[in-house]
């Protein structure tokens, strides 16, 4: 078996295992929020809403891994709906990350 076949089979096996384990989805929440200088967390902190806090955390973790965090006030609810959908596809966000990040951005704009 050559290198190509091994790599393809390894990838396919990993994909199958990953898909089989897909039902164990869980939100990541093990690190502290990392903020840019936009100050959006002040809004979240005052709401006391656990989902919004989770959304803010996921927003800072996932989005800031590639680029600076954009101010939630830059976009309307409808625009965030489209853009977070776009980033779910581009950045392979999970469904839960999609929902929570969108809820946070729409509550903070």
């Amino acid at each position: 078996m050559n290198t190509k076949a091994i790599a393809v089979l390894a990838f396919a096996g990993a994909a199958v295992l990953s898909a089989a384990a897909g039902g164990c989805q869980k939100t990541q929440s093990s690190t502290e929020v990392v903020m840019d200088s936009e100050g959006s967390m002040a809004t979240v902190a005052s709401t006391g809403d656990d989902n919004l806090r989770a959304g803010a955390l996921l927003w800072s973790q996932n989005c800031a891994r590639c680029h600076n965090l954009r101010n939630p006030r830059e976009r309307s609810d409808r625009q965030w709906d489209i853009i977070v959908h776009h980033m779910r596809v581009r950045g392979n966000l999970t469904a839960e990350e999609h929902r929570l990040i969108l809820a946070f951005l729409q509550a903070s704009n």
Binding site: K4, F11, H86, A95
Partner: protein, 472 residues
Amino acid sequence: MDNGMTTFHASRFGLLALILLFVTGPVPVLVALQEADDDAPLTRREFEKFLEDYRQFQGEYRQVKQENESLRQELAELKAGISDASAVDSAASAASMELRLDQFASQQRKSILEDMREELRDVTEPLMPGLLNFALGGTGVVTYQDRDGVDSTFGAVFAPILMWKPTDRILVETQIEFGLSGEDTEVGLSQFQVSYLLNDYVTIGAGKFLTPFGNFWERWHPAWVNKLPVMPLVYERGLIGETGLGVQARGGFGIGDSKFNYAAYYVNGPNFRDSSISSAGKLGFNNFRDNNNNKAFGGRIGYLPIPELELGYSFLTGRVGSSGSSSSGVDMFAHGIDFSYAREFQAIKGRLDLRAEAVWTDTDRVVFTGPFDPFTFDNKRNGWFVQAAYRPTLSSFMLGEGIELKNMEFVARYDQLRESGPGTRGADHNQMTLGLDYWIRPNIVWKAAYMRDDVRGDKDSDGFVMQFAFGL
């Protein structure tokens, strides 16, 4: 008649007694009964009725008394609260009250605006069904470069992305790139993809999409995301193409505290170049009309053990030779690994961003023939880069009026590329790039970089590059 009058008087008196009992309580009423009409005889029935009324009123009296005591207690607590509040510093109390009033007013205003917006939306949406659910993204960039061996020049590219979401599950993305080349303006379809959210774990898509190989093309290549004004050598020199034309499936999911993401795609794939010595053996990725019936298959899987760290493995394989040509049986295989880590640290008062990728490509060996002497070589092209960036996001130091240190980012990248080829074309190419960015906004940046180039067997191309970039 007398007996009837007595009964009448007794009834009137009983009514009065009831009122008095409510007002003053049962005991004084009984005393009043005795004092007012001591001589009037009571029948047993009247007495029993009075006794029954008395017991009923006594119960009600106790209930009222309990309520009264409860109210007295609440009043005492309120008084104590007012007393405590008055002991608080009056300025702080006033500020607190003002803040609460502001919050209340803000909530009210927001609520009213939300209602108005809903009403407005209900009225306007039916009037413009074709104009809704659009958003604009993309990037624009102006670059100046001055490198050894080539004339210095400015360049500009504007590449907006139009996103349309007709339903909750469908997203259409189109990126048009407007660029300048020579004396002409170039317009190209950089991306066009329709994607459908099949379920929580799978999104399928079709069209011309960014290649899910490594991290650079999909996530880091937009000018306002790429921290340097130049691309890594492995991508600049075309080891892996920017886009693929075909279909893909992708998604992400968590397992415990870690997370996986994946992408698998089936595309036209690259084509094999064999028409000239300079390009012999290289791959072209603008294969919009496939040169054979065999499609390329690729994929990437990413693993995030913690949210800040991602490790990925990618591959791409397929037949690249053109049907009916001498190279029709030529296959290629590429694979790579990628790494990214980004986190803010209090100890260094800033954010550290580390990115690295390595790519290996292997194309079948062929004998090239043409208006030149036949030749062959082991067709491998490999490369890697490591990039580190630091931005003192937690610093409050001012470099000058309106110039904050926290908006500066220091970047360094080392690239290496190994290409085999005929004669002297094969190259060992090393590049060190040092960059300094200034972020005007999170999506607007000035970048400056100096590159130290080292190409074995060829002229180096050291140089200076400046770039202004923004993300829409």
